[in-house]
Symmetry: C2
Subunit: 299 residues, 2 copies
């Protein structure tokens, strides 16, 4: 299979590496609009060929949209538009379109962290059924082609959204892709996806950003932070290194869910504040014991 | 040197392991009030002998108080009291007390995460100069003798507080101890210590506790948390597994500093909330870019 990846950053680049070395892709075509990233991706060898957007969509059997979600919402309809344009021209051997469709139908996926707006953007697109909304839930706080790494997805969850809106064959292609990446496939609708990721992913980033801002604001002497930061602080603040290009559109696109989680979070923070202010050791202990229950769930 | 460790949990137990295997301690005496922990510490072999509090203080050349800070504030004067009691009886060979003092003077340290109240508790104690306030800034979210591990302290910062209040020889003993544990020694007064640790350690724990409470409160289906939790969430919420026995007294003893940091933190959270609510992408991006500066400091 020829896999075209638009955006050779952390996710797209890591996918390119594993899909090729594990035999899912015979050839990887890469699209990278940033010239520095394109040169790096080529040097690292993430793709077999760096091509244009149009070449990628025309040639690939599977198109992976691996750009920040703000750009993806604009590009996804363009990718599907091009699939329409391409259909009539795609039968040089004289096979009927229907026949060709049955034989091999181009599949388009995205790998973004919010799903509802993408689903909405192509809801009535005539080529909607080629598209599968996917979210491989893996990553690091680093970005760009340099951040790509083999094995990034191993053991993590891979979500397929609104499977009933896609061709069963397209869904099967994604299931094979997740199997190749050693991911556990999970199915949900885009709306639930955005609620759950607000809780288990987006809020973690906001709390880390806020923590970094707090410490940078107050600890004017960076040496103290450097000297005193233990593993605990580093672990909690790690996500604050995450890219604004990726996270600005996630937070705006998942606005309502994220605001709801932030409000609950601030309530919990206030509960701690009150207990500490009042020196109420029983209340503090109660809050900590309750939060300890996360042990049951997270290793 | 005979090292007596009161409290064979994560910190005391890990110290016992490295001090003995690296030759700093010829013998480790352990005190453990909890019978289950005492049996475990004995089974694991953290100490050469499990002894009583009194035997430990009487026999050890270096007494390490490795209990939660609430208990430590009560025990530290008791340890120093016993050093007074012991002094006149300590010369069976007829050597004068002064001579014996010069020869080998018992040193007492604590390893707690807050320092000001401990310093205050023994400020006017006649044996104050035997005591050195120390804080080896290393740990994990686990506790108890099972959590003890070799190499826990390697490469981290070891703080010595109010060095001028202690005998230079006692300070030198702690410097050797930190060298043995491969720690970078840092000096500061207890008041600054408590301000800095509020920023780089205590707030991280509160943000993790609040994050765990938020997710547990809202994600009633634990399976979703388990399925969807990526490395980022796990890393941010990790400290929420920390022990209430340890953290309740830290948060109450460092009340004013922690409240101040929580207030700044809630302000930063509100800034994100406002930017997201208003869909102000420039403001969101600005906040993330500012928080990214933590990259310069934290690896």
């Amino acid at each position: 299979m020829k896999v075209g990846i638009i955006g050779l950053g952390l996710i797209g680049g890591s996918m390119a590496v594993d899909l090729r070395r594990r035999g899912f892709a015979d050839e990887v075509l890469g699209v990278e609009s940033d010239p520095v990233n394109a040169a790096a991706a080529e040097k690292i060898g993430l793709a077999d060929r760096i091509v244009s957007f149009e070449e990628c969509v025309d040639e690939a059997d599977l198109v992976v949209l691996a750009v920040p979600v703000g750009a993806a919402v604009k590009m996804l309809p363009q990718v599907l538009d091009r699939c329409v344009t391409q259909r009539p021209a795609a039968g040089p051997d004289g096979k009927s379109i229907e026949h060709q469709d049955a034989e091999s139908r181009k599949v388009v996926i995205d790998v973004c962290s919010t799903k509802e707006q993408l689903a909405r953007a192509v809801k009535y697109h005539p080529e909607r059924r080629r598209y599968v909304g996917t979210h491989p839930m893996a990553g690091t706080e680093y970005s760009g082609p340099w951040a790509a790494m083999p094995g990034l997805f191993d053991g993590h969850a891979g979500i397929i959204c609104d499977a009933q809106e896609s061709d069963p064959k397209a869904v099967r292609t994604v299931e094979c892709l997740y199997e190749t990446l050693n991911m556990r496939t999970i199915y949900m609708d885009s709306s639930s996806h955005d609620v759950h990721t607000a809780y288990v992913s987006h809020i973690s980033h906001v709390t880390s950003f806020a923590l970094a801002l707090t410490v940078l604001d107050k600890e004017k002497d960076e040496k103290h932070i450097f000297d005193l930061a233990s593993g605990g602080f580093s672990s909690t603040v790690r996500l604050a290194k995450s890219s604004p290009d990726m996270w600005t559109p996630i937070l705006t696109q998942n606005r309502d869910n994220v605001l709801h989680v932030i409000d609950t979070y601030i309530d919990k923070m206030q509960a701690f504040r009150t207990a500490i202010e009042e020196g109420d050791e029983d209340a503090i202990r109660g809050l900590i014991e309750e939060s300890n229950k996360i042990r049951r769930i997270i290793r």
